[in-house]
């Protein structure tokens, strides 16, 4: 789409880190668009591609996964109340130092870490895990510095979305109606103001 690709703002050093260590011939560069995708479902697809399990030449001792570039990490969505209620815990090793952080705060600090944690925790815990981590590049916006590589977009498999439960559906309809009423009220208020200013101009 972009004839002249937009300049990549952001940490170029971090984006290109460790590229030399990966043996890149024969690997495809798959691009995932995280906009509007559910976190876990996207992460499981990324993990499958990263392990190379979608190729018939899969071998468990050889690292043969494709390079995965993930865009728009800040637009990832989660269902339910996970945005406020999902908590990441980690223990620093000192007694009593169990730290926690909510999804909301993590998204403000670094949205790429959310996807990275999700994918890393879906990979098998073996010696190839670090190499697979190196093949995963996540960007919170839509720009990336890999425009000179042969990129391929990844099409997510079709998903059957469960229909909403009756109470949730009623709440959603109520919220929509309230928004419509607010918008209508705002427009009518604006029209009145415009009308008043017009009359003031005519009078003056």
């Amino acid at each position: 789409m972009a004839a002249a690709p937009p300049a990549f703002t952001g940490n170029l050093k971090k984006a290109l880190a460790g590229l030399r260590r990966i043996n890149l011939d024969g690997l495809r560069w798959r691009v995932f668009d995280a906009k509007g995708q559910v976190l876990g479902r996207l992460a499981s697809q990324i993990a499958v591609v990263l392990q190379g399990k979608d190729k018939p030449t899969y071998a468990p001792h050889v690292e043969n996964g494709d390079m995965c570039v993930v865009l728009n990490a800040k637009d990832i969505s989660v269902t339910g109340r996970k945005m406020t209620d999902k908590i990441y815990y980690w223990h620093t090793g000192y007694i009593g130092h169990l730290k926690e952080r909510r999804l909301k705060d993590q998204m403000e600090r670094d949205p790429t870490e959310v996807i990275r944690k999700a994918v890393l925790r879906m990979l098998p815990r073996n010696r190839l895990r670090d190499d697979r981590d190196r093949k995963l590049r996540i960007f919170s916006g839509g720009e990336h510095p890999f425009h000179d590589r042969p990129l391929e977009p990844f099409v997510m498999p079709p998903r059957q979305v469960r229909e909403m439960r009756p109470r949730a559906r009623r709440a959603l309809i109520r919220a929509q109606k309230k928004e419509q009423a607010n918008r209508a009220a705002a427009e009518s208020a604006k029209d009145e103001e415009d009308g008043k200013t017009a009359k003031a101009e005519i009078k003056a």
């Binding site: 789409m1 668009d33 979608d54 018939p56 030449t57 899969y58 977009p153 099409v155």
Partner: protein, 122 residues
Amino acid sequence: MNKGKIFKLAKGFRGRAKNCIRIARERVEKALQYSYRDRRNKKRDMRSLWIERINAGTRLHGVNYGNFMHGLMKENIQLNRKVLSELSMHEPYSFKALVDVSRNAFPGNRPIPAKEGLASIL
């Protein structure tokens, strides 16, 4: 006599297990037990690897492993998983023909969606 045989089997072991008879004897016994067990495990692991490869190969054509095998059984194609995995790796066109045969016999999957959406960004 016995010690010689044990040290011969203990080549490449770590630390004192290759040099000192008491430790080497234990480690060699364990190694022989493992090799007995793994001669049987290897058959299982290889079959599971063939199945993973066949699964990957058929999903490229929009069919998953279960439906593919069901279609083959219906058509009475008695190729085993080892041969099927070799075909999926090295003979892609023949494998596609097999996938089509299976799909005709047992249509159970939706077709692959056409590439759209993100292709406009890149």
